[in-house]
Subunit: 496 residues, 2 copies
């Protein structure tokens, strides 16, 4: 036993070091690497990826995991037990999927986003279709290889991104949204809102926006000695340990609020990982437990804290100070209405808080159909437009603004999208629970975000991925998942 | 033979990938990594360093090099021959130095700079003395282990940093400087120069300095698609391939010209590596051939091009445009005199072009004495002050401004300093040669730095480290090293 533990830990240490390299390379690439540096770096990365594969698939390492899994009952440490269960689960792919098929798929998806980008750019779904067909085909085979008595089909993919959440749960969730939210959104968005041209047509200099984002770092107590804010084409968070989790944002001079809410959103992700118990840093348990829980944190910071009246009562004067001309005569009330406007739109990433989940529903229905075989890839554009009409109430005129808009499928990621909607629903449920122990509005009004960070650390963040999403939710809210918190939150907020 | 070549190339490929990781980590650490991230990253680095050591000392790899070296005559490719010779030479350390001693030394120097910094800070040489004694002692043993009939003692260390340059050559060089330069410097620096308070006492906003550095990138055609300019505490260049060589500078708001000449200096280093023939990227021959040749390029760009009247005739108006208040009534002539002022000073890194080499001479004499055993570490401060008085004509009042000022010795680097002086002398000789084929002043006056880059590419840069410093000098100038070019250049420039 001791021997297997030692072997496991030795391998883990190495794997973490290679992972660190991959992490740093991708951070560099996304934030500053010169354009022409890609070819050389890719070569180096390939060498390292081969080394990494050798280590991860070493019979000695696999043996150790198998042995430890077979003797789970003799392991005292709960965290270690969890880690071994996960490691064992992840071995399934190496053990059950033929290596040739796996590698062929990896090669395919490593190049697919390039074709996807071209197809999107040229509004040409047919260009992307053959590749997407192969990706779907591989995933249909994959779920066959991996199926167990408990998990089959699309459930296997869903479980990959959100442990324990299957179609049954998602169907319940999305049916609730369909019943409760679809008619509500139609009602709310029927009335057009108007805002001062000062908000919608001013120029907001980059330098001033940077200053405000830097100000927000202090407001939210995102620790500069364990993170940093940089710029990239698309905002993202990139964390490797509880002492190093970095974020990016993007500044648009014709849009004051885009950078603000990107910064807050990414800080939500980052604070989650920075508040992980440091004891997990050297294990596989560091980081968020699932995409849904991760998104719940970013969306809570962005939407529930960052778009609240209480928050802006404290911080709007600072914004006016930085943009005195642009915000002259724009009242706090109007600004608050502006950052909480809702409207039917075509692009998921630009959708507002109210309509966002409906965009996700479209993708969920399509993925379900593709994996079950009921929907053919060639019929996707038509199906997409139909569902958009049904759920969001608006249909795209081009595939570029429709089925081609997201990168995920080209990366082989099926089962990922639903977590986006789930995150917002988790957030609403957690907010409710937190608000019973802590007056959140009061904390925001007194600029005491530390108290909020502390609550989330105790009830969510510290556990890193040592608990499943369902366990986290139960710890934090003392209830199982209930989408009505989300529905009620949205109805309460957007009722006009 | 084929088998050994294959083995060699396989190992080289891996070693280059690990080297890439080390390069990226250090770039990140020096330019942006959050303070508290160090511990975790160091752990990952240690794992990788162990992997790297295993690969570099693999018997199979060493065998391959030994075999190829023994059969050099059968290798057709000149570059490959050069590479094998170097690789074989580098194996000496692994083969001849007892592993225990080597590792003990590596551990010592990995921690020594910490003690050095403390000692410097507290102006306490005694604190640093015991460590420096051990470092010197190791180096005295090291040269015994590595000595050959041709190379002994300090020559071995000098050759490590500047292949083919021994005490004999350096003695000739520094004796020339002693005879020609020491009295000249005394004469020139006796007259105090005065400059407008606008230059010496204005505030020069960071943002404007950044704009000028960005402007300089275009002027010098430092390729943004293969490099970038960032900020760090101490400016440096960090290159890994002909498609990725990055630089940093540092902006001081009370000093207009520091960032300008740091940026130009580092661009000199970077353009050298970016103009290496790309065929060397996958070999050990990419990069500068020696510290001296590297420094010759940075100093030529900084001092000979960047501080010239012809250059500023074109670019001073741009500087005035960015600092209209600060430079009002400051003429081009006064600015040009200001950036070429010379004075006796204590700190090497802040010394001007004229006096710089004399600072280096002090260190050369001391290193020579330490390795031969004629100078004891405990006597260093006294000896330092004496030599400073002799060569530079000024004596430090504290060790902080004296023997403790440089980090190099704490890093175990003895034999490095002389290359700094050699670089400037190479530059003067190369400038002369280039000027016979290309009217440099005219190129500068017509803002045609591309022509200068092109000449240097053809005569110096393209060769990367496939030629020795002496070979490069011969190709570029058709002569052996002659320090009188440097002496004449300085006398001509600083004669008042």
């Amino acid at each position: 036993m001791e021997k297997f533990i030692q072997t496991y830990q030795d391998y883990r240490k190495k794997i973490k070091a290679y992972h660190y390299f991959g992490w740093l390379m991708s951070w560099d690439q996304e934030t500053e690497a010169p354009d022409q540096s890609i070819e050389y770096r890719t070569k180096q990365f390939q060498v390292m990826a081969e080394e990494m594969y050798k280590i991860e698939s070493a019979p000695e390492y696999i043996d150790a995991i198998d042995h430890l899994y077979a003797n789970l009952d003799h392991i005292q440490d709960q965290d270690f037990k969890t880690e071994i269960k996960r490691a064992y689960k992840q071995l399934r792919v190496i053990k059950l999927v033929p290596k040739d098929e796996l590698i062929a798929h990896q090669v395919l998806v490593s190049q697919a986003s390039h074709t996807w980008a071209k197809a999107k750019n040229e509004n040409n779904f047919e260009m992307f279709r053959p590749i997407l067909e192969k990706i779907v085909e591989f995933n249909r085979k994959l779920v066959k290889y991996l199926e167990t008595p408990e998990l089959k089909g699309y459930d296997i993919l869903l479980d990959e991104y959100e442990e324990g959440f299957t179609q049954k749960e998602y169907d319940l969730f999305f049916n609730t949204l369909k019943t409760e939210l679809v008619p509500f959104v139609k009602e709310v968005t029927a009335k057009k809102q108007k805002f001062s041209r000062k908000l919608t047509h001013s120029v907001f200099p980059r330098e001033q926006q940077i200053k405000f984002s830097q100000y927000l770092i202090d407001v939210f107590h995102y620790d500069r000695s364990r993170g940093l804010l940089k710029e990239s084409a698309h905002p993202f968070t990139s964390g490797v340990s509880s002492t190093d989790t970095r974020i990016t944002t993007h500044y648009y001079e014709n849009n004051l609020v885009s950078s603000i809410f990107s910064t807050i959103h990414e800080m939500g992700h980052a604070i989650y990982e920075l508040q992980n118990d440091p004891k997990y840093d050297d294990t596989y348990l560091h980081g968020g437990t699932s995409l849904g829980i991760h998104e719940s944190q970013s969306r809570m910071y962005e939407n529930m804290l960052g778009r609240s009246k209480a928050f802006w009562t404290v911080h709007y004067p600072k914004l006016v100070e930085l943009f005195p001309k642009q915000l002259k005569h724009v009242t706090l009330e109007e600004f608050h209405r502006y950052i909480n406007r809702a409207e039917r739109s075509l692009i998921r990433t630009e959708a507002d808080e109210l309509t966002y989940a409906l965009h996700v529903m479209v993708r969920y229905e399509l993925e379900k159909g593709m994996i079950s075989g009921k929907i053919k890839v060639k019929d996707l554009p038509k199906k997409w437009n139909k569902l958009m009409g049904e759920f969001v109430g608006i249909k795209p005129k081009t595939d570029k603004e429709g089925v081609l808009q997201d990168v995920h499928w080209s990366g082989g990621m099926l089962g990922y999208f639903p977590t986006y909607a789930l995150g917002s629903a988790y957030a609403a449920q957690m907010y409710q629970a937190m608000n019973q122990e802590l007056n959140i509005e009061e904390a925001l009004s007194s600029n005491n975000i530390l108290a909020i960070n502390a609550w989330l650390k105790e009830h969510v963040h510290q556990f890193a991925s040592s608990k499943s999403p369902k366990e986290i939710l139960l710890i934090a809210t003392k209830e199982a998942f209930n989408p009505m918190y989300y529905v009620n939150y949205l109805k309460n907020k957007f009722q006009r």
